[in-house]
């Protein structure tokens, strides 16, 4: 072979290596778990969800069981795939060995060797993609059965390509199941605020911007069963999610949804038919969804049971025939491989290095008696509640205060005698430099403020500080 030929071959090989073929139109990415494999002892929540042998595969039309292409080759278990906005890459949670932590991997949608994109201590799970290929995930991966009781709850992180991850959430409970809405916000699941850490959790949906600011209740706070999982924005704008009476829905979960036009008033079943055993829901097109549903006990099917993939129209009255069904595997998570519109980006107002943010409450008296002071407290790393200090309330009920960042904050309103009027458990947090405002304590959902100038906005803010060693109030006057 001449040197010129060698160079040409080399160049061709280099180009081929860098030029990733795309998956055929209509392809799906699917998580398959082996039927009947028990989780290993002392496993994490992902080991329960994706037992050893679980894999992520590419399904190419016409979706035959002998034509699946494994995307998670070389890993002992994998699951929870998510496709990049250009349809060329698949991100998923995977485990390289029995002892290794779960991490997020990336692989070309048409195949290849998966590469880890996270190296989080304690592992990473639930990948989602925001604008500009920013990866959002939860870390660490809690132990099995401890997702909502772990002393080290999973937090959400954001990671731009080639950069270090940034922590987005600081709530007292795990923040998991993230998905990115078309408006650019991150929708995720966590437990609603509560006083007693041992009280039963009620899981609900919250949003944050992709810089971790403006944590806001989205849906399910006051209704439905206690456990929700895996929210997804559908093509018609509804938010679908899995509901269950247990932490891991397994064969007993079903699909519900809310309308984004009024998330707190529209919770209902997603399908017009019985969907018990629903394992996942993903948007397919504007009107159709992909869902994986347990089929055990169905007419004409074996009682052994396994989950199959269905394509369901929004107005369907019956689930119809499976799109893909492999009796040897549970098909539990299917998502289309296609280019979609990237969600909106967000220009961050976070100022890295700033030690405080600002909170403006327009009216702490909203739905309460007139308050004289606002007491602010934070949850220390130990889970103990520490009072930061008190702030005077303006005559119109408004309060403006500088507060520490990166800790769950709670608020009490007090009357002139110091008696407690209202208590808001520690839940919200501030990012460095964040300016945050609320209508009032227990503010009505999805309500705009009145067009009134808050008196507190015309005063200098009070300033409260926090260190984890704080044992007594350390309020400083403005």
């Amino acid at each position: 072979m001449s040197s010129r030929t060698s160079v040409l071959f080399g160049a061709a090989a280099f180009l081929l290596a860098g030029c990733h073929p795309e998956a055929p139109d209509g392809s799906l990415v699917l998580t398959q778990t082996p039927v009947g494999v028990p989780p290993p002892p002392a496993a994490t929540v992902l080991d329960v969800r994706y037992p050893p042998g679980s894999r992520v595969v590419l399904l190419v039309p016409p979706f035959r069981t002998d034509k699946v292409r494994e995307l998670s080759g070389g890993l002992v278990a994998a699951g929870d795939p998510c496709v990049s906005w250009d349809g060329r890459w698949v991100y998923f949670a995977g485990k390289s060995s029995e002892e290794a932590d779960w991490q997020i991997y990336k692989v070309n949608a048409s195949g290849g060797r998966p590469q880890p994109v996270t190296r989080m201590p304690g592992g990473a799970m639930d990948p989602a993609l925001a604008a500009h290929e920013e990866l959002v995930f939860s870390s660490p991966v809690p132990k099995a059965g401890r997702l909502w009781t772990t002393p080290t709850p999973a937090a959400l992180y954001g990671q731009m390509p080639g950069q270090a991850p940034r922590r987005l959430t600081f709530g007292p409970d795990s923040a998991v199941g993230a998905t990115v809405l078309r408006d650019g916000r991150v929708l995720f699941v966590t437990a609603g605020a509560r006083d007693d850490p041992h009280a039963p959790r009620h899981l609900c949906l919250f949003t944050i911007n992709n810089d971790g600011t403006e944590v806001t209740a989205y849906a399910c706070q006051e209704d439905g069963v206690d456990f929700v999982r895996r929210p997804r924005e559908l093509g018609d704008g509804r938010i679908a999610f899995l509901a269950a009476r247990t932490e891991e829905p397994g064969p007993m979960g079903w699909a519900e949804c809310v309308r984004s036009a009024a998330p707190f008033a529209t919770r209902s079943n997603l399908f017009a038919f019985r969907s018990v055993g629903c394992r996942s829901v993903e948007p397919m097109s504007e009107n159709d969804v992909l869902t994986c549903v347990e089929t055990s006990g169905w007419v004409g099917r074996s009682m052994m049971g396994n989950a199959a993939v269905f394509r369901v129209a929004a107005d369907a009255t019956a689930i119809g025939a499976p799109l893909f069904d492999d009796p040897q595997w549970n098909s539990i998570e299917a998502t289309p491989v296609a280019a979609r519109d990237e969600p909106a980006g967000h220009t961050s107002a976070v100022m890295p290095g700033a030690s405080r943010g600002t909170v403006l409450c327009l009216n702490v008296n909203d739905s309460s008696e007139p308050a004289a002071e606002l007491r602010v407290f934070a949850l220390a790393g130990s889970g103990q509640q520490r009072t930061l200090g008190k702030v005077p309330v303006a005559s119109d009920g408004s309060v403006l205060v500088y507060l520490p960042v990166g800790v769950p904050l709670g608020f009490d309103t007090l009357d002139a005698q110091g008696h407690l009027l209202r208590h808001q458990p520690a839940f919200v947090w501030l990012q460095p430099g964040e300016n945050r405002a609320c209508v009032g304590c227990h503010e009505p959902r999805n309500h705009a403020p009145l067009n009134i100038r808050p008196l507190a906005a015309m005063l200098d803010p009070a300033h409260l500080e926090f260190t984890d060693q704080t044992t007594a109030p350390r309020a400083t006057a403005p």
Partner: protein
Amino acid sequence: MKLKRIILVAMPLVLAGAGAAVGGRTLVLVHQRRMSGRPDLGFVSCNHCHRVSLDKLPWKQRRPHHDAPGGIVISPDGKTLFIAMDDVDEVAEADVTSLTVTRRAKVPGGPFGLALDATGQRLFVACPHQDRVAVLDTRDLKEQASIAVGVRPTDVAYCQTPVGERLIVPNSGSDDISVLSVSPLRELVRTAGGREPYAVAVSGDGRHVYVANRMAVHDQMLSPPASEVTVLDPANGHVLDRKMLHSAHLAEGITPVPTRGWMLNSLVRVRNLVPITQVKDGWVMSTGLAISQEDGEVTQIPLDEANAYFSDPSGVVASPDGKRAYVASGGADVVTVLDLERLGAWLTQADATARSDAIGNMALSFRYVVARIPTGCNPRHLALSPDGRRLFVAERLDDRVLVVDTTNLKPIGRIVLGAGGRNDPIRQGERVFTRARYTFQGQFSCRSCHPDGRVDGLSYDFDGSGIGDSLLDNRSLCGVAGTAPFKWNGKNPTLQFQDGPRFARVLMRTDPIPPAQLDELATFIEHLPPTRTIPWSRVGQPLTPAEERGRKLFFATQRPDGTPIPLALRCQTCHRPPLFTDRLLRSVGTKAARDASGRFDTPHLLGIGASAPYLHDGRAKTLEELWTTYQKDDLHGVSSYWSKEQLNDLVEYLKTL
């Protein structure tokens, strides 16, 4: 040796050159400091003040014109649609069966608002560029008559009264309403409106006329603004009521629902007094509809949803059976369809508190909004066929009219007026200007605060440097070309900088506008001419005696007693012609407690009469207040010797700029 000789020759030359440069710079500095009255001023380019020519500014240059549809009206037999095209001075006639333009007629003056008489034989055309109403014969589209009205008439309504036919014309530039008789064509009365009377509708029984005023006014600086709906008796022009739409502005559309006794008014609900810490949940503004009922009650309801917004509502029409209403959202490229029966049911069961709070409840609209119909760019005016089966949508920036079958809410086709001007960067920039997609959830567009590039008359609290800073008055974009720097603190050297990443962080809460679109946006803004505030008939005419007296006052260098006015305190020093700004930061004694600095960018005065309120925080409601309520120690020009008459003269002159 040779080198030495070169050095010996060159050295004195270099030293002389350096000396000349230093001396020249010193002279320039002395000149600048003397002329500006600013001893602290650093070096400023000579071009900053000299060689400024209005004739070289973008808005003085010729630009492409487009067949943009303005007002549209359909004939009583439902067969013909008339379309005003203000940018090309034409009115078009289209056949609604074939969806083709059958005739076009020249109508000078920027035809914008249209109305037909009861028989469909006469077409009345409001021409805002020439302050007139033209009467066209629909048989040949020839102009039969014309009459002068107030400044910038934007709409016209026809009605029959017991004493004869009437035309009602809102004059948006002079804040009044002309009431005309038709035979003969004569102005009977000109009634004071609110601020910018913009759209007009006749009640179902023909006894009342409702005029929507586009802009809000407020009593005091920190009090909530309100826009007015002026209710007139069309027979004599008497004002029957002035309904106030609280915290509403951009009220551009109005229509009756005769079967329900309602008047519907599209609006933007602003929350300008609340610090802009966020935009979600309609924190800055949201869109709505005001329902004025026969009993006098006005209820504002939201058009937006909890997580999606449909900005800049404009045209609104209701079906003849009163079952549906349609609202064009110019910023969202959508027509919203409302089920009025559901809305009526909600109004009936809602108590007073629920009705009062409705506009702030972003999760309410799903109870009565039944569809959102996608449209082309910037839908503004709407028309319904007499049987209510066809909806016509003027897609203003696409030069088309969309036709929708209202039985299934599907598009039937489009009436094409022009090519859309995709190669015109000014037009492309206007598309960026009107589109809300650049803000979080599409909550607002540039136009939401700058209707037609002008002001909304409001002051806002941006949280760029912390919560609770002083409010900042919204400044007009008309005539800003050549007046850089921008922003009240003068920190933005270009429009691209002004509307770039920082703007995205502070207000849009999304990714910044991409550079190519940002350039187009700046191009569009630079081509916005100053707002004309004098009547068309006065353009190019000599100043009136009062205006001339005011001009002399503006350029005065000494008091009547001969005492010189210090250079730094002469009007012309800071407001230097021809832009009437020196483009420098100035202190005129208006620093508020929360202001970071007392120095603010000197605003240009071109079109100043249309940009109230004034000063950096909008504290002065009128030009008069600048030198009465808010003048301090003659810091804003030496005005202490002025009489009331002299102040009036000065204001008259300023309104001619």
